[in-house]
């Protein structure tokens, strides 16, 4: 296992800046996720770690050793790509064994033993003789995982490995990947555009935007205390109110949002422009404080709760409540402790 560090990594393709100073530290054995919208640089970051994309500037190091100039075959990483990239002219077993052509299996195992072990690990025992195109998408994904793990890499890199699968299968496989990862304790970097997936599986998450890391933290930190406006809007369907601080003191800040006054727990200086960030479950129908009236626009029934999109002064407000039958004008409010100032 290895810890992994990126220091001020830049990458440009012609005039396009893909990475604009990315620095990350991933601990040994950690499940670390890069999340962000498409084009944010998360895949480029992963490819830089793998050595498939030489950075324009900055360094990549494994266990404190600078590997920036090292070719991918010398890096000791395993990668699972979005489309699995199984070698179509090799059987499942040959695919899994491919990396063992260049390194010995661990523990003095034979190649066959190692392949059998890995196929068992991903619940594909006995499928070794099949051709990749005889397998379902989920099975192919697990073969790709077994192939990446066979040489016992120090770092496992997963590039949106679930995005081609349907929702139910994604959840099953996500759990399986998570289980295998914690069993093996291999340092893992996982790339996804799905914030819910990122929060569900990771030890820590880095939210990326326009080639930069916006925030790194444990899933709960990211969800509850978004550090930037972008993170707040990307993670967890927060409603954002842009306003100006009119008064502050005693741990409470008064913010004016186009004539409506909100009181939020926090610290700020009067006159400062701020964003008030409120999670959908923090907005309570007929709440006691910070009341405002919205018009329900659409409702999405989710089972336990219903998600409402409502209109307030041409702003979209998102809230969730168990009552599935709200419509028309509704008065909402939120507790000053439940909102965050950005």
């Amino acid at each position: 296992m290895a810890d992994l560090a990126l220091a001020d990594v830049h990458k440009t393709f012609g005039d396009t800046v893909a990475l604009d100073g990315v620095s990350l530290d991933v601990a040994s054995g950690e499940f670390f996720t890069l999340v962000g919208p498409s084009g944010c640089g998360k895949t480029t970051t992963l490819r830089t770690i793998a050595g498939l994309e030489p950075p324009t500037a900055g360094t990549v190091s494994f266990d404190g050793r600078d590997v920036t100039g090292l070719a991918p075959e010398d890096r000791d990483v395993g990668v699972v790509f979005q489309n699995y990239a199984l070698f179509p002219h090799m059987s499942v077993a040959e695919n899994v064994a491919y990396g063992l052509r260049f390194t010995d299996p661990p523990d003095g195992q034979t190649v066959d033993e190692r392949v059998t072990e890995l196929l068992e690990l991903v619940d594909l025992a006995g499928m070794g003789e099949r051709d990749p195109d005889q397998l379902s998408g989920g099975q192919q994904q697990r073969v790709a995982l077994a192939r990446a793990l066979a040489p016992a890499p120090s770092v496992l890199l997963l590039d949106e490995p679930m995005s081609a699968l349907d929702a139910r299968l994604r959840e099953t496989l996500r759990r399986q990947v998570k289980r295998i990862q914690s069993e093996l304790g291999v340092t893992t970097v996982y790339v996804t555009h799905d914030q819910a997936e990122a929060l569900a599986v990771s030890d820590r998450v880095a939210v990326m935007h326009e080639g930069r890391v916006e925030q790194v933290g444990r899933p709960r930190e990211i969800y509850e205390r978004p550090a930037t406006r972008f993170v707040a809007s990307f993670v967890g369907e927060n409603t954002l109110f842009d306003g100006t601080v009119t008064d502050a003191g005693d741990g409470t800040v008064t913010v004016d949002v186009d004539g409506t006054t909100f009181r939020v727990t926090g610290d700020a200086t009067p006159g400062e422009p701020v964003t008030v960030c409120v999670r959908p479950t923090a907005l309570v129908v007929e709440g006691d404080a910070n009341r405002f009236t919205v018009t329900v626009d659409t409702a999405e029934f989710l089972g336990e709760t219903t998600r409402y999109y409502a209109d307030w002064d041409d702003r979209t407000v998102v809230f969730r409540t168990p009552d599935p039958d709200l419509s028309g004008e509704i008065t909402l409010g939120f507790d000053p402790d439940e909102a965050r100032l950005i």
């Binding site: 296992m1 498939l52 075959e73 002219h89 260049f102 299996p105 068992e120 690990l121 040489p151 890499p153």
Partner: protein, 598 residues
């Protein structure tokens, strides 16, 4: 299975260090092999062509344009344009009755051939792209056949059809009508060029036609356009680039055509190529190399124009193609038109080959195998200076095998290199494809003057044996086809496959050998079939290099039999047809179609 040892590494640094050392050679391997290949190309192609340039531009060790100027100002070569160099007024005075000269005539017949090929090819594209009928795919894949058809075989097919004792005149005689003098006319040359190039025009145009989105034409219709108007406004603009591409290629091929013009036109309708050959026969190497240089300038300019034009087109294959109409159905005007076209197509494309096979198995007394027997008997009886048929067959096979050995590795390697990103790749691409733009006659002439006649190197006189030079010429003509079959297949491989191999520990070279090449084996085999067919049918450079030796091949033997012994010539042509047909089946089955769809 989750034992603590699962991911304990066995002495990782040592294993990696051992691998790293063994990989040194693999890392530079591709670069070394590329350099060796380029050196080989220099010897086989660039040096010989360079010799042709040197001989016409350097006289007595001094650079001079005298040879070129002499040709440019000779009315025989440039007609009225030669005089116009010193006296432009003559262009006005003699308008429009220009004397064209050799170059002018060459361009003129190429232009006529282009018009004929487009006229014959575009309706073919319409049938292939818009109609559904049994055997459509087979007909579609047959359009690649001209690429591997020996030109001399096509020529003999036309002699068997339109010659004095050909099928057409035989038919007229049966009807009691006077026979026609069709051979040695411009018309038959143009028709033979159309036989060759109309399928190409049809192929690229049909591909574009199939790419026209039905949504686009249907949108035009919903906006109020009539079917004809929708065709003019939406479909036609998307077809024109393809038609022009086909036309430009046809012009280039017809400009550089040799065997057809030699066999069907003779010296009366000589083109530049034929005159270069004629000059070589007369041992007038000055004129031969001078003409060759001017021809290269023309053909390179045309090819450059073609590549520029082709590069600007990007066929967008988005959208749903329009459904094909069923050809079998009630009699309508357009179904009659398809039928009429089919009849013309049979006359132009099928009749010459059928006539050749028919002529080979018939004699004055009906069906006979006499012509084939002659090939065997002649072998036993012929004098040493006469052409021995089986020797020709053996030579063809040996040269074909030699061509495979040389052209396939070169072609595959250049295919690999052309899919890599590196500085100067475009230059390498252009150099690698240069043989497309240089005629076989010029390559043959260069090899003859440069290698067979020998050159001085490090104080030694190096000469290359004729057969080796022939294999070199064939390989030069063949390897671009290998490359064109392999490169698109390689480019189509998902990058993630190679990257997966890399992160699993394979060097770039190992990834190539383990992953990429196994996946393009069909392309390589198709390329081999191309290479073999091209070698078997090659006439232009072989006829120059084989003159006065025993290295003649089947096409050369056919040309020598053609004058007096039509029967044996058609018999040998039929043998060539079988070999070519077999190659075609391999190419068609293994995806040789890729890379030729414009």
């Amino acid at each position: 299975m989750n034992g603590p040892g699962l991911f304990e590494r066995v002495n990782v640094p040592a294993v990696r260090e051992r691998l790293r050392r063994s990989r040194g050679l693999e890392r530079v391997g591709l670069a070394v092999v590329t350099l060796v290949t380029l050196a080989l190309l220099v010897v086989m192609f660039f040096y010989p062509v360079g010799v042709v340039f040197a001989e016409s531009l350097v006289v007595d060790g001094r650079p001079t344009v005298a040879v070129i100027t002499a040709i440019l100002t000779d009315e025989f070569f440039f007609g009225v344009f030669a005089t116009a160099l010193s006296d432009p007024w003559v262009l006005v005075e003699s308008f429009p009755d220009y004397r064209l000269g050799l170059f002018g005539f060459t361009a003129y017949q190429a232009l006529l051939s282009t018009v004929a090929s487009v006229a014959l090819g575009v309706p073919g594209a319409w049938v292939l792209a818009r109609w559904e009928f049994p055997g459509r795919q087979t007909v579609g894949s047959l359009t690649i056949l001209p690429f591997v058809m020996p030109s001399i075989m096509v020529a003999i097919g036309f002699v068997a059809t339109f010659g004095e004792n050909g099928v057409v005149n035989g038919f007229l005689r049966t009807l009691g009508l006077p026979t026609l003098e069709l051979l040695y006319t411009l018309e038959v040359i143009v028709l033979a060029h159309a036989f060759y190039n109309a399928p190409l025009v049809a192929r690229v145009t049909a591909a574009a036609w199939e790419g026209v989105s039905a949504d686009a034409t249907e949108t035009a219709r919903t906006l109020g356009a009539s079917p004809l108007r929708a065709f003019r406004d939406v479909t036609l603009p998307q077809l024109l680039p393809a038609v022009l591409t086909g036309a430009l290629l046809t012009f280039i091929f017809s400009f550089m055509s040799f065997a057809i013009v030699l066999a069907l036109g003779g010296l009366r309708y000589a083109t530049v190529e034929v005159w270069v050959y004629h000059s070589v026969q007369q041992l007038d190497y000055g004129t031969a190399t001078g003409l060759a240089v001017l021809e290269i300038v023309v053909s390179l300019s045309l090819t450059y124009a073609y590549l520029q034009y082709e590069a600007r087109q990007r066929a967008s294959r988005t959208g749903r193609p329009a459904p094909r109409r069923d050809l079998l159905g009630g009699l309508t005007a357009d179904r009659v038109a398809v039928g009429a076209y089919a009849a013309v197509a049979v006359l132009v494309f099928v009749l010459p080959m059928a006539s050749m096979v028919l002529a080979s198995v018939t004699g004055p007394d009906g069906v006979t195998l006499r012509n084939y027997a002659f090939l065997v008997e002649r072998q036993a009886e012929a004098y040493d200076f006469q052409v021995k048929p089986l020797t020709a067959v053996r030579n063809s096979l040996v040269f074909g095998a030699g061509t495979l050995v040389v052209a396939v590795p070169i072609g595959v390697l250049l295919g690999v290199v052309s899919t890599r990103r590196f500085r100067g790749r475009k230059v390498l691409d252009a150099l690698a494809m240069a043989p497309f733009a240089v005629s076989g006659i010029v390559v043959g002439l260069g090899l003859l003057r440069g290698l067979v006649f020998g050159f001085e190197a490090f104080g030694w006189r190096v000469t290359v044996a004729g057969p080796v030079a022939i294999v070199a010429a064939h390989a030069v003509g063949a390897y671009p086809f290998v490359t064109r079959n392999v490169a698109p297949a390689l480019a189509g491989i998902d990058d993630a496959l190679v990257e997966s191999a890399r992160v699993l520990g394979a060097t770039r070279t190992r990834a190539l050998l383990d992953v990429e090449l196994p996946l393009v084996v069909p392309g390589i085999v198709a390329g081999m079939a191309f290479a073999f067919a091209i070698s078997i049918g090659e006439f232009d450079s072989t006829v120059i290099l084989a003159t006065g030796t025993n290295s003649y091949t089947m096409p050369v033997a056919i040309e020598r039999f053609l004058g007096r012994r039509l029967g044996p010539a058609t018999a040998m042509g039929s043998v060539l047809l079988v070999v070519t047909g077999a190659s075609f089946v391999v190419i068609d089955r293994l995806g040789g179609r890729r890379g030729f769809d414009g």
